[in-house]
């Protein structure tokens, strides 16, 4: 059985860039544990010599010519931004 600890949940939340409340961590620890335990079902199967499927169609790299074309203008691209300044997206400062 692969139970998940609260510390693991907090670690994963940080990787996923989520700020979970203590209550959420508690609930998530139980629910993720349940789901992961259910997924242990897959270990019944011997998949030693099975190739993984990443994609159902047998596509190789699909390439097109790298040609510039008209797309969204800079003005439009900024239209839905939560914050902007001088034609750029503005974010909180990274350095003090």
């Amino acid at each position: 059985m692969a139970d998940i600890s609260k510390e693991q949940v907090k670690h994963v939340a940080n990787l996923a860039r989520l700020a979970l409340t203590d209550e959420e961590v508690e609930k998530m620890t139980k629910q993720l544990g349940d789901i992961i335990n259910y997924a242990e079902l897959l270990n019944e199967l011997d998949t030693e010599n099975v190739k993984p499927t990443t994609h159902v169609l047998d596509l190789k790299n699909v390439m097109r010519k790298d040609e510039p074309r008209d797309w969204i203008s800079k003005e439009d691209a900024l239209k839905n931004a939560p914050d902007q300044k001088d034609g750029q997206f503005r974010v909180p400062s990274i350095l003090d």
Binding site: L18, A19, L42, T54
Partner: protein, 490 residues
């Protein structure tokens, strides 16, 4: 008879004979929406002013060469991007996305056919859910009984068609999100072969599984709508370069000699007796129409749900990384540093189910667990895909129920993710294998709720699915029943 009782083809004839106008059609749609959507809650955003204006223009320029979809009001699931028309994925994190910058390829294609977009349809947030209870805005109700869920995640798409609010709609299907609500609401819903329809402009949930597809009242209408949205797209490198048949031609053929496979795993315990009875009655109907059926096995079916949740959540955790409060969407109002700005924007913007899946996916992809969970699930996916290929060596279609039970009550399953996930047990394998599947009405439970028949075909063989579905529909009367919601359509 209401306008909503006619097929698309019949409506088109009425337009050309001047019996009706596009404005009449659009008006019928909004009249019905204003009449019943308080109860059904299918629409998140209406496009009324623009749609009525467009209707007038279309009435003026109607020509004899107009497409079969000309002037018909359509509803679009809210995870399909519509230029200038609010697109939220039913999530608070996109609550302010009032002016999207481009149209999804399917929307562009529909515009070329001159359909009229009447509004955007409710869904489970980011298409994660089976009941529409995960929408951050409203809970869409089942038109057949508003105490029940419409299914999900394309619940608004199915309910709006069943309620006669629109003539057809688009949904998306990652693990059953078109077929399950179609079954619950008694309409026709197709998940095309992976790669048949461009995903450009479909807000990505699980990129290797997602497909856009049509929801309609009849099989014939479904074929017409699919025809309009298929085709390779240079904006989606996973869209397939295949010859596109004329899907309506398939409806002209009968099913004599058709070989049907019925997986024993799809009629096992856990499948409601009334659902099983309706499916067996359908098989009897097929025998009378000259088809044959035999029991087969898809031996890895019981592993599909576990593999699906690992794979789809892993892909979702990567796809939903783009929602960070920087370029669009809602940013936290907390005055914090950049890293906490990401974290709080995401935590405030995403609902519980979305956070749960991002967490599961991030865990399955994280260092030390990748091989044990993600890669293992990919290998199991291969086994599931092989199951289907083996059956299709000897049979033309696979037939079974779409869902193990008819619609469940609002609130019944919302507290237990695993019980909710089990609901998709018969639809998920189809997405993992990438094959197409349809749900059509095949009966009603003793409580008066619709039951769906699922027909699964070979890769890119939507024609045989339509032929099989149409033969049954023409021999039965289930698709002509309407929910009683009051108003003109009751």
């Amino acid at each position: 008879m209401s306008l909503f009782d006619y097929t698309l083809k019949e409506l088109q004839e009425k337009l050309h004979n001047k019996e009706i106008t596009v404005s009449d059609l659009v008006d019928a749609s909004y009249t019905r929406i204003h009449e019943v959507d308080d109860k059904i809650q299918a629409f998140l955003t209406l496009n009324e002013e623009e749609a009525r204006k467009q209707a007038k223009e279309l009435d003026e320029k109607l020509g004899s060469d107009a497409s079969i979809l000309y002037g018909l009001p359509i509803g679009i699931k809210d995870n399909i991007v519509t230029k200038g028309l609010r697109t939220t994925c039913a999530s608070q994190i996109l609550d302010n996305l009032n002016d999207p910058l481009y149209d999804a390829t399917v929307v562009e294609k529909l515009k070329a056919e001159n359909t009229v977009t009447v509004g955007k349809l409710n869904m489970d947030e980011f298409a994660m859910g089976s009941s529409n209870e995960n929408s951050s805005y409203q809970k869409t109700r089942n038109p057949w009984n508003t105490d029940y869920v419409p299914g999900g995640s394309s619940g608004g798409s199915a309910a709006s068609v069943a309620a006669g609010e629109v003539f057809f709609s688009l949904g998306s299907d990652t693990g059953g999100s078109i077929r399950q609500p179609a079954a619950f609401c008694g309409v026709v819903g197709l998940k095309p072969t992976y790669g048949l329809v461009s995903r450009f402009g479909l807000v990505a949930f699980a990129s290797s599984l997602d497909q856009i597809g049509p929801l309609t009242r009849t099989v014939e209408d479904n074929a017409h709508l699919l025809q309009a949205i298929v085709g390779q797209d240079k904006m989606d490198s996973t869209s397939a370069n295949v010859d596109i048949p004329n899907y309506s031609d398939a409806l002209k053929q009968d099913v004599k000699g058709l070989r049907i496979a019925v997986p024993k795993e799809y009629l096992q315990e856990g499948v409601n007796p009334e659902v099983k009875e309706a499916v067996l009655a359908a098989l009897k109907q097929y025998e009378e129409l000259g088809a044959t059926w035999e029991e087969v096995s898809l031996p890895h079916s019981k592993y599909a749900v576990a593999a699906y949740y690992l794979l789809s959540s892993s892909e979702a955790s990567a796809n939903l990384a783009r929602f960070d409060g920087v370029r669009y969407g809602v940013r936290t109002e907390k005055r914090v540093d950049m890293l906490d700005m990401f974290k709080y924007s995401r935590s405030e913007g995403f609902g519980d189910e979305v956070k749960r899946r991002i967490m599961l996916g991030t865990f399955a992809l994280s260092s030390g667990y990748y091989d044990a969970y993600y890669k293992k699930a990919q290998k199991v996916r291969t086994l599931i895909k092989n199951d289907f290929e083996k059956v299709f060596e000897d049979y033309d279609v696979i037939v079974g129920p779409t869902t193990p039970t008819p619609a469940f009550k609002v609130g019944e399953k919302i507290d237990d993710p695993l019980t909710m996930y089990a609901n998709d047990i018969l639809t998920i394998p189809v997405n993992l294998a990438g094959v197409p599947g349809i749900s059509i009405p095949c009966g009603f439970s003793s409580e008066g709720l619709p039951i769906g028949l699922q027909i699964i075909g070979k890769h890119f063989d939507e024609s045989t699915i339509y032929r099989t579905a149409y033969a049954f529909e023409q021999a039965t009367d289930h698709h002509n029943r309407r929910p009683n919601l009051g108003g003109d359509l009751s």
